[in-house]
């Protein structure tokens, strides 16, 4: 068998514009948003008649493909609607954020901030100015440290006895 004698083509060449128009009976154009509709969306009266009369079992299949195509077009429409509604919700959310920022800025402008530095300084110094920190103990005379060590030793002894 020769390869040149084969009737089928290995590669489907793309259809010309005229050819496409012949295949599709859609009067409103075969392109929908850039997508080529591969099957007729609209049922012709001819085929309807032939379907009624014919006993061809594949007729039902071609009818199904039309349904699928129309569902596809419907799907595109519903997608657009969903996209538009989501876009609207994003825009409204952005507006809400903008409004809330504006209102909080107004609130901040009208708020008076006061800092009680005295209380703050006292609380900080009470935390860091510990009498028993090594730095503070180094500033004290040895006699004072001796007394403190004796007192603490006695306290620790009592703690051990109690425990």
């Amino acid at each position: 068998m020769k390869i040149t004698n084969t009737n089928f083509s290995l590669f489907n060449k793309p259809l010309s514009k005229e050819e496409r128009q012949e295949v599709h009976s859609n009067p409103f154009g075969i392109n929908f948003k850039g997508n080529v509709l591969t099957s007729d969306v609209f049922e012709s009266s001819k085929t309807k008649e032939s379907n009624n009369t014919s006993t061809n079992p594949f007729a039902a299949v071609s009818g199904k493909s039309k349904m699928v195509a129309s569902a596809f077009v419907g799907g595109i429409n519903s997608f657009n609607e969903a996209f538009r509604s989501r876009l609207n919700s994003i825009i409204s959310f952005g507006r809400q954020v903008k409004d809330s920022i504006a209102s909080s800025w107004e609130k901040a402008k009208n708020t008076e901030i006061t800092l009680d530095f005295r209380t703050l300084a006292d609380s900080i110094s009470s935390k860091f100015n510990n009498q028993y920190s090594v730095n503070n103990l180094l500033k004290q005379p040895v006699d004072d440290l001796s007394t403190m060590l004796k007192t603490c030793e006695a306290d620790y002894k009592n703690e051990i006895v109690k425990a």
Binding site: Y132, V134, L137, L138, V142, L145, L149, C152, Y156, E159
Partner: protein, 122 residues
Amino acid sequence: MKTINKIDNIIEALSRHEDPKSISVLEEIGTNSEIDEIREKTAHALIKKNTPDSLKIVVAKSGKGINDLSARVAMSSINEILSLNDKTEVLKILEETMNTEDQKQDIKDTARSVKALITYSM
């Protein structure tokens, strides 16, 4: 602040204090304390001072520092001596302790052992 932390800080301050009286305070209160923990901390402070007077207390005095009756305090003092960066002063004191005639034999033996440890660790 917990009492033991206060004691810790006082001993630390005494070990860093420049007044020579700090050594006698550490010896009188710290090394004579009934509590092992305080004796241990005091021995560390005296070794950290790394002066002849402070080292003599922990090396040559009975029941203090490396001669403490508590094995924990004695071993901890030896470890502290071994971790000193400058051991020249402690080696001198150990040598003196070993060669002092009126020194107790057990103190001399301990000093000899610690000196041998330092020599091997160097």
